[in-house]
Symmetry: C2
Subunit: 449 residues, 2 copies
């Protein structure tokens, strides 16, 4: 009977647990988790702050299982790969446990990145916050009284989700982003415009191309950006996360630039030790270069692979695309693969096609806008990325994600026979349309050669 | 300057018109259309009868264009492929026009099939109806007074859409289907159950495995099925359509089993004459056998191809999948490719995987069910079909449609990184889940060999 230890019960650890159980009904599974509750949905937190869902409902438990132990409120403090055990500290009593393993899965996630802004660390938890767990969501909710002002640092998906949540609750909201438009890692500037306009219309002030120089006062009363000082009662840092690698590194587990390095079986350089999710460095499925991909769905699939392999099965993870979707107010935004900037930085010559349409025909009540952009390799037509803003954005992006995964060209996406009915879309699907445009540009470019 | 004539202004004719204009700004286009208005959306009619949209809003006009003539209320009566002209009758004045063409596109659509039921033809328009155009939608709406009873013949998508529309308006509704479950051409029995239950819960009576023997009375007062007589004030025939091929056949244009035969360029056996949409026999994209595919989206793509070629461009249509989506009440139903019966009839040994999930995580208000089934070739794993019932069904089916088109296996669909956010779905996407199940079954079957 194999003894399998999982450190961390996020998406990756959860998926690993299920995969182990599927592959080996007898394996004994020990889960080590710092939190006092089993699982929770981090992606739901901004919506809970907004009041759409209950914060209390974001946590849930694993299925019942006789062959497992869940050590909640325990922190893994070290791994000994020679004797094969993990030391874990009971955060309540201080007691140290030594837990032996045959196979170990590290799914420790990431820790928030605190940017080197004067006043950030000093005021952390006291006017400066990071949304990282349910506790921090409660603190932010409590602090966010009506009429107050908040500055959000970072215009990525999470920064903007928080901005919308707090704006909806009546706060004055400013978002400061170092780069020059919203969600710059996922979107191109033209698509970002479609996101920025409704945010600004809702009263959120967006400041681009500026960084926060200092957070001033105690209690916090303002932030200074490059060329102005902005009054605020509260600062939320949404500057990303860093892989939680400390105990892995101390155990001699190899690191890449972004986190723990694994092979396609999710195994680290030490046999029998796997790592998944936000704490690892993964590879891009497009150009097979190392990359960081801190998404719940990615962690889930990696967890399945690690769990299967740890339990004696065989599985591989081939790489990540970065497919994501978010909803800001009533606006759905999704993307997958490379945006233009990243594609060009990776050496591609690109062509793109954009389609604009309605979620239902014009004559239908409740028809909403949808815009989709598809990006392809100008030499081969192979799809490299997609971005969509509007009703059904996520679902359309899933089609592009399959296309990228399978090395498909824009012509094939253009010609895919998609479902039509006036209740759910238009006769000439907006993705077909975008891909047709890209195909025509491609043909034109090839003729001109 | 080329003279191009289009007979029929449905999806196919419309798409042809746009494609001609894109490829040849100078072509002169003549459109011959029987209706008194330009275009309309047949797929919207059941929803208009239900009262969700205005019947008046279903018709719309082509974009303005200086190099074209639209002959509304004109019926094409014959084609002379030697002298290259079309005779068209003005349905108002009876005048006959002779219209010369360099290229001709036949996009005449289909005519309703009136099944050989005693009393059907006799009472047509007088208690027995077919939903075929806006006029017939008005007649059905007028006749459908509250408290009345209606029998619908055929439990395909259109029959069921009409059944739901009239049930919503308060009528007593019986649906009679010769085959043994709902939407038998698109769904398998297990998936059909998910459609039948809510229909029955809404008060619609579904009668399977029986055919209508006679429509009785004048005015109609009942129908007789194999073993009972059912009172009704009104019968709606939803037994499908037949390609409208008469003038094409008279002109010597080759026919297949289901309609006008074309090559992949949509050209008939007579050079310069193209045919698209419901009036043609197309091929299956899966096994390349002739088939019938009377869908608006299919006609649209075929129209693009014919228009491009007629205007001197180059394009091909490779075949149809039958991707469709409908909404019955609040339930979305979609399918693409082969169902189990059709796949097995075509000689495939199949494996399937089914995933059930929620449109949002459980903790989210408004989470709705979604079930998806994926069907694959048990030898190769290549995807052959998909069926989905529930929230977002159509969008998920589009992913499978791309998979079928590109000869992709279930493994690749399982591994496609799909967009996740608690506002729009679950962490472990239901389609990934279904494809994972199918992959495991496939692996098991291959091990057992």
């Amino acid at each position: 009977m194999a003894n399998i230890v999982i450190i961390g019960l996020g998406s990756g650890g959860f998926a690993a647990f299920l995969a182990i159980r599927r592959n080996d009904p007898d394996a004994f599974i020990t889960i080590i988790e710092k939190r006092s509750y089993q699982m929770f949905s981090p992606c739901g937190m901004p919506y809970a702050i907004e009041g759409i869902i209950d914060l209390d409902k974001l946590s849930f438990s694993l299925p019942e299982d006789n062959h497992s132990t869940k050590l909640l409120m325990h922190e893994a403090t070290s791994i000994d790969p020679i004797v094969k055990n993990v030391m874990a500290k009971n955060l309540g009593t201080g007691e140290i446990l030594s837990i032996p393993y045959d196979f170990l899965i590290i799914a420790q996630g990431a820790v928030p990145f605190i940017p080197p802004i004067k006043g950030a660390r000093e005021n952390l938890g006291n006017g400066v916050y990071v949304l990282h767990d349910i506790e921090s969501a409660y603190i932010i909710s409590d602090h966010a009284g009506k009429g107050k002002k908040v500055a959000v640092v970072g215009a990525g998906p999470i920064g903007l989700e928080i901005a919308v949540a707090l704006r909806t609750k009546g706060l004055g909201v400013v978002v400061v982003e170092m780069l020059s438009y919203a969600m710059p890692r996922a979107l191109d500037r033209d698509m970002a415009k479609l996101v920025e306009r409704p945010l600004e219309a809702s009263g959120i002030k967006l400041i681009f191309d500026q960084s926060v120089k200092s957070i001033n006062g105690s209690p916090v009363n303002s932030i200074s950006v490059d060329n102005e000082t902005i009054e605020t009662d509260m600062v939320i840092l949404a500057s990303g996360v860093r892989a939680n690698i400390e105990i892995a590194r101390n155990a001699g587990i190899e690191q890449g630039n972004w986190g723990i390095r694994t092979n396609a079986g999710m195994e680290t350089n030490i046999r029998g030790i796997y790592a998944v999710g936000d704490c690892i460095e993964t590879v891009s499925l497009i150009n097979h270069r190392p990359t960081m991909m801190q998404l719940s769905s990615t962690a889930y699939r990696q967890g399945m692979v690690a769990g299967t392999n740890a339990a004696g099965g065989y599985d591989t993870y081939e790489g990540a695309l970065g497919t994501f979707v978010t909803v800001l107010g009533n606006l759905e935004i999704a993307a997958t693969g490379f945006n233009e900037f990243i594609a060009e930085s990776a050496g591609y010559k690109i062509v793109s096609g954009k389609g604009h349409g309605k979620s239902k025909p014009e004559y239908y009540p409740g028809a909403k806008d949808i815009t989709i952009k598809i990006i392809a390799d100008a030499r081969t037509g192979k799809v490299l990325g997609g971005q969509a803003v509007g009703e059904g954005a996520g679902a359309l992006i899933n089609v592009i994600a399959l296309g990228i995964r399978c090395n498909i060209d824009v012509f094939s996406i253009a010609r895919t026979e998609m479902a039509y009915c006036p209740m759910v879309g238009e006769n000439y699907n907006v993705l077909n349309k975008a891909a047709d445009f890209a195909t025509r540009k491609l043909e034109k470019a090839q003729k001109e050669k």
